[in-house]
Amino acid sequence: MLRLEDIEQVKNGVRIIRGVNLEMKPGSFFILMGPTGCGKTTLLRIAGLIDRPARGRVLLDGVPASPGKRSGMRVRRDVVTLFQNPVLFGGTVRSNIEWGLKLRGVKTREAGRRTDEILDTLNLSHLSLRNVSTLSGGEIQRTALARALVLKPRILLLDEPTTSADPELRKELVREISGLHRKWGAIFVMATHDFTEALSLGTHGAVMKDGRVEQAGAIDDLFRKPESPFTAAFVGLGNVFKAKFSGGKAMVNTLYIHHPGDREGSGYLAVPKESVTISLNKNSTSERNRFPGRVVSITGNGSLMNLEVDCAGVLFVSSLTEAATKELALEPGREVWVSFKASSVRTF
């Protein structure tokens, strides 16, 4: 188990990580999410024993590990980090992959076998003896991934490993990372701001904001039960509003919104954009929250469209298929009904 205990980091006098506590269980695929500059990479560097935290501890199976300390050295070889922009050593693809194995004293024959295996898994066999200076960006990325994976670490930290990859390579990398995680059951920790990756790979995760963990838990809970307006907005719920709660209803501007629970006072509510239904007449749905509105904009590419509807000054976002948009002949200015179930409303 990897535990980050009360981690603080300071850079140029500014606290960039503030009291982070996280726990990653064996076999979990932990996703670190958050906007650029929220501290994901800094936290990964601390967890990967690259940087020493200003305060707090990194524990692996209860053993404290700190860069430069003997106890740190014992666990260092169990933790491998793959940076966002990986650097390869001079030489061939093979010599790069074998370096970490030699460092661990793996016998030449065994190192060769494991290298061949990972080259084959990542479709790099044909590049084995190529000098790294002749590799393309995608090949560099895959070589770096192979160099990290061949070590079969107990903890693999990945810092946005697919960011610089083209869409095809991105899909391929996600598939390979996912396959290898299932195969070994090690702890994988990945920083990303791609929700598709987060949902398809992650078992657990955390949303970070300004160096703090805003919410941590099972990945499904992060997306379905956000505990703060920031998490709700960040995970793409689409509709986050300031509200006044009273008697089982929430008032947003002049709209009364039904929601589960008995919250009172001021707060926020969020409605996942996937839960917002658009219809042309009031009675076509039985959902408790129904409001008339006017289509403001239709955006999106591919099969999924985002529709913005203004309901008495409250802007709702709905996620619709392109087919549904066409079927309802939706266009800006069109009058529609927005509806959603009370049970789909989250309150904070």
């Binding site: 990967g48 024993l49 690259i50 860069p67 430069g68 050295m73 260092r76 070889r77 933790v79 491998v80 980090t81 793959l82 940076f83 990986p86 650097v87 050593f89 001079g90 370096w99 970490g100 460092l103 661990r104 160099r147 990290a148 070590l151 670490p153």
Partner: protein, 231 residues
């Protein structure tokens, strides 16, 4: 002009006929300068790496001082080493004055800022990234630094050659702490000083040609080692 041409002809004859004194002096010069460069590299490549990887107050100032010392006058180093190894100096009891060892020590000090500074500069291109990559793959701090130095070996070899070039061509230290003793501490540069003083034009030109040849070999090697050239 006629005399000069005649002297050059004689100089060439000395080189091609294997003049024993000329060859012994050349060999001695090479040995002293190589020892000085090796000694200095042993201590000051790690010093350059330390300067690059560590962070401490005044680091920028230290780096600037090191760079300024690239052009330290050889007579100044010669004087300091002389004072240190002379009979009344702190190292006087070692009996180093007027020995090849004293020249080597002086030259090692002379090239120390060059080796430190150029090592620092060599690491500035990607040094941290390489070290962090090594750390990220499970290396300890020392292993990571050694890996970076190994990755930068071509540039570091260039550094060593530049330092050797400076050591082999200096004269101030060799005269002051070597004493220009024939067959013992006489180097190519001190021989030239002596030959010119004695009016031995042919010998001084021959010695100058050998020195030039050495400097040229260093430059040719540096050109071949240039990563840009090999690209």
């Amino acid at each position: 002009m006629k005399d000069l041409a005649e002297a050059a002809r004689l100089a060439l004859k000395m080189i091609t006929s294997g003049d024993p004194v000329l060859y012994a002096t050349t060999l001695r010069t090479l040995l002293i300068s190589a020892t000085a460069t090796a000694l200095s590299s042993l201590f000051f490549i790690p010093a350059g790496a330390f300067l690059y990887f560590s962070s401490f107050p005044g680091k920028k100032l230290v780096t600037e001082v090191v760079r300024t010392l690239y052009g330290i006058p050889t007579v100044l180093v010669g004087m300091l080493v002389f004072l240190a190894v002379s009979r009344t100096g702190p190292l006087g009891n070692l009996g180093l004055l007027f020995t090849p060892a004293a020249i080597a020590i002086g030259e090692a000090i002379l090239v120390a800022p060059i080796i430190t500074g150029l090592t620092f500069s060599a690491l500035r291109t990607g040094g941290h990234e390489l070290a962090e990559t090594a750390l990220s793959l499970g290396a300890g701090r020392w292993t990571a630094v050694l890996k970076v130095l190994s990755e930068k070996r071509q540039v570091l070899l260039t550094t060593v050659l530049v330092a050797f070039g400076r050591a082999v061509s200096e004269v101030g230290i060799a005269v002051m702490v070597g004493g220009n003793i024939a067959g013992y501490t006489r180097t190519l540069t001190t021989s030239i000083v002596l030959a010119v003083g004695k009016g031995e034009v042919a010998r001084s030109i021959a010695l100058g040609m050998v020195l030039l040849l050495l400097a040229l070999s260093v430059n040719v090697t540096l050109t071949f080692l240039d990563p840009e050239r090999n690209r």
